[in-house]
Symmetry: C2
Subunit: 127 residues, 2 copies
């Protein structure tokens, strides 16, 4: 007979797989073709959120636009930019004790965004 | 005086920055600690969606769990797995002519998921 896990174990178990996924849109933003600014801003987001960076990759499109991803111990951050439109689409997904909301003022300031839309999705909840 | 862009230019311009962002949860899934299966499945998703792979990175956590990201010409795919829970959190973000929905049967089959939840977010729409 298989015994059920103790309640505190189940709690830990489910807690680990819960995360916050922020879907972030920047409008009226600047600096969106500056790959160095974008990489530096991703790194500042990781620090602000008290997350742990495992891997970062940024790609510059021709004629313009940048995609970047930061893989974290806590999940990831991504950014895709359309400089001519002043628009960037990001997502910030973090599990555990990181604070993904702390990325929002970093992004707003770095890209001088006139408008920042944020939608929060809770991931990994038990159905 | 600055002239407004012709209507067809504006249409093209806005079309470029529209994308579909799928938030995908797999429950009751298998193979979630198999980093080779996960990388191969990300590559199959890219092919199925007729997207263009620019960069891929997968990371194996100790004692278990995998995070992976595929940077695409069309945006990205990410996966984060919790093997003990049979749970994986993915997002598939694609702009242009790629077909992100084509990833869903690939994921369902590769990981033998008992349940697949998909939420679609339209990104980059003009406010």
């Amino acid at each position: 007979m298989v015994k059920a896990a103790p309640a505190e174990d189940r709690h830990d178990h489910f807690a680990v797989r819960e995360g916050v996924h922020l879907i972030i849109d920047l409008h009226g933003a600047e600096g969106l073709n500056d790959i160095d600014l974008i990489e530096a801003t991703l790194r500042r987001c990781v620090e602000a959120a008290q997350a742990t960076l495992l891997h970062i990759h940024v790609h510059h499109f021709q004629p313009n636009g940048v995609s970047g991803v930061a893989v974290l111990a806590e999940s990831h951050i991504s950014i895709h930019t359309w400089p001519d439109a002043g628009y960037a689409a990001l997502d910030v997904f973090m599990c555990g004790k990181a604070t993904p909301d702390a990325c929002i003022p970093v992004l707003r300031e770095a890209f001088k965004a006139q408008r920042v839309d944020v939608n929060e999705i809770l991931r990994g909840r038990v159905p």
